[in-house]
């Protein structure tokens, strides 16, 4: 049996970081039942380096593509994966007389990153096959044929759910931000908060394993990438993404090294001037709470949280923010959280690493002045 991991590729080539983190969970699942690990992506065979695949423990790979499939099409992608799963040439041991679901025989799981694309494609695959799908998993292991034990996020990670998935093929997406990057490097188990992924993934395959997106040092290309041409019906391409130009501008919130956060305590749109000033000094992005966006003080693209952006900065300075779980779900990936709040009893004071108890409109101007004074 085989666990198949869907890889999304970066525009400049190479596997997306989120996909290689999903691969960590896929590998844990495969190891837990002594199964093979395979990978598939949409696009040319060269899009992912063989060294990277070998380092990740992948033993079989497919590049999926056809002239009819010019880009991202959720239903077509799912149909292609279902087609690959049912393709007898993908599995030499397949019984061609088996029905369509029987031909899924060589696959025990399909795993993808819990991105917009990953979730969407696996939901379609679930709907096509009638199989259940579990989104935002942080670990998975097989307990028997047809049964997996998994841990998944609820409330965007504010709660964890221990669950059992009963299905002939497990369809999983992985909450990539909750699977540590160093687990990829070490080739170790997918773990979050000490969750064992099951199996002995931390073992020998770590050799030569590099960070997601890297190429294994001296990784022999001991893997051949097969081309798979899906058979698509007209309707499969009814929904097709047309991509427009790159929209990025300024410091992106999701990847900023420092984020200055403002909540209701900022008091109004004018109150953000001092946050902007501090952000300018530190090369930081401004992030806000939902109260701020729903009041119309700031655009939603600056919202941090469950229904906003997830951030992963070195420093998150949260000013006038109470620390509701839905806000914290978006900033738990920050290395250090510092809160400035007038209320020593605010929930954020039990969630941040450091706190200043005080009025942000006094503390921030003084902070700006002190930082300026240090600079020549």
């Amino acid at each position: 049996m085989t666990v198949l991991c869907l890889i999304e590729t970066d525009a400049g080539g190479g596997a997306a970081d989120a996909s290689m983190r999903a691969m960590t969970v896929a590998r844990g699942l495969a190891r837990s039942a002594d199964e093979d690990l395979a990978a598939a992506w949409f696009g040319p065979a060269e899009a992912v380096s063989p060294g990277e695949l070998v380092a990740a423990g992948v033993t079989r790979a497919w590049a999926i593509g056809s002239a009819e499939l010019p880009g991202y099409a959720p239903l077509a992608w799912a149909r292609a994966l279902a087609g690959l799963a049912a393709d007898p040439s993908a599995d030499p041991s397949a019984d061609p007389s088996a029905g369509p679901l029987g031909a899924f025989g060589w696959l025990s799981a399909v795993v993808a990153a819990a991105t917009d694309h990953g979730n969407e494609v696996l939901a379609h695959l679930g709907a096509i096959t009638g199989l259940p799908m579990a989104a935002n998993c942080v670990s998975a292991s097989r307990t028997s044929a047809g049964e997996c034990r998994l841990v998944r996020q609820r409330w965007a990670g504010s709660l964890l759910e221990d669950a059992v998935l009963e299905a002939p093929v497990a369809l999983l997406t992985v909450a990539a931000d909750a699977v540590p990057a160093d687990a990829v490097q070490a080739g170790g188990e997918a773990a979050a908060g000490g969750e064992a992924a099951g199996g002995e993934a931390a073992g020998g395959e770590a050799a030569g394993g590099e960070a997601a997106g890297g190429v294994a040092a001296g990784g022999e290309a001991a893997i051949s990438v097969a081309a798979y041409q899906p058979e698509l019906a007209d309707g499969d391409l009814a929904v097709l993404a047309a991509e427009s130009a790159d929209r990025r501008s300024g410091v992106s919130l999701a990847s900023a090294r420092v984020v200055i956060g403002g909540g209701r305590g900022v008091g109004g749109p004018e109150g953000f001037a001092v946050l902007e000033e501090l952000a300018g000094l530190l090369g930081a992005a401004v992030g806000v709470s939902r109260v701020v966006t729903s009041q119309g003080w700031r655009p939603h693209k600056q919202q941090v949280g469950q229904t906003g952006t997830k951030i992963t900065p070195e420093l998150y300075l949260a000013c006038g923010i109470s620390g509701a779980i839905q806000h914290m779900a978006g900033c738990q990936g920050a290395k250090t959280i510092v809160a400035i709040n007038t209320d020593a009893g605010a929930p954020i004071v039990t969630k941040a690493d450091y706190a200043v108890i005080g009025d942000l409109h006094e503390v921030l101007p003084a902070l700006v002045e002190a930082i300026r004074a240090r600079r020549p």
Partner: protein, 257 residues
């Protein structure tokens, strides 16, 4: 244009989330209930579309009898019809939920031009009900949408152009109607309910259907709060007196250079 929006009743959790002693539910003894911001935006989007192009908005939920309260909240925003797919307290998985919704909106003969959803439910985060509904009804579907435009041929709504940002680029989808679309917060800024809206919502009759449950394949065993939650911050000081310590910390973190 006839639009149906699906919303889900969820606990309104604030500073802390707690699990019931049996480990199976979120403790709601101290909380009210709400719907996901994504779904509130879906209702706002539907109301705005019908304000421009005519037609009406139906809101639908699958949940316990009390979920009628969330339907009324949405009626107050400008929806005109509420449908409750009434369940007991058992948790419905995404497959059962999608089947019940697909049945309720018309089986093979969909009475709506557009079915709107949130991108994911706030509590369970399944990321799949809209897609499953679309498959049951053989309708085109796209998820996670942040921009929506209806293209009409005269009075006849023909297509929608839906967009979202994905990894720094904008993806644009062109779908024939009827279609299924799930949206994310940020697509619009929902209005506050008006007083007349609230009064109308209070008086509205909610249509009730009792769908039948089916198992899902994903079995919840236990909910728990992740480790590490609930540490105590080190207080650097009070007011401007804390600034030197704060500068020292920022320096130590290497973010001042």
């Amino acid at each position: 244009m006839e639009i149906c929006v699906c919303v889900k009743r969820v606990p309104m959790v604030g500073g802390a989330i707690m699990v019931t002693p049996d480990g199976l539910e979120v403790d709601t003894t101290m909380s009210g209930f709400t719907v996901s911001p994504h779904e509130e935006c879906a209702v706002e989007e539907a109301v705005q579309i019908t304000e421009r192009l005519g037609g009406s908005v139906t809101v639908l939920t699958l949940g316990p009898p009390e979920a009628a309260g969330q339907l009324r909240d949405m009626l107050a925003l400008g929806a005109s019809r509420g449908i409750l797919l009434q369940t007991d307290d058992t948790e419905w998985g995404p497959i059962a939920t999608a089947d019940a919704i697909a049945d309720a909106v018309g089986g093979g003969d969909v009475a709506y031009d557009l079915l709107l959803f949130g991108n994911e439910a706030a509590d369970t985060g399944g990321y799949q009900v809209p897609v499953r509904v679309a498959h049951s009804l053989a309708l085109p579907c796209v998820t996670g949408i942040k921009g929506l435009e209806v293209v009409a041929d005269g009075d006849w709504p023909e297509r929608i152009v839906a967009s979202r940002e994905y990894r720094g680029t904008e993806e644009v989808f062109d779908l024939p109607l009827p279609a299924v679309v799930s949206v994310k917060e940020g697509i619009n800024l929902p209005r506050y309910p008006s007083l007349p809206g609230r009064l109308r919502a209070k008086r509205a009759t909610i249509e009730t259907i009792e769908p039948s449950w089916r198992p899902n394949g994903l079995r919840k065993e236990r909910l728990r709060v992740p480790e590490g939650a609930g540490k105590k911050a080190q207080v650097l000081g009070t007011g401007t007196e804390a600034v030197p310590a704060l500068v020292g910390l920022l320096d130590e973190l290497g973010v001042l250079s």
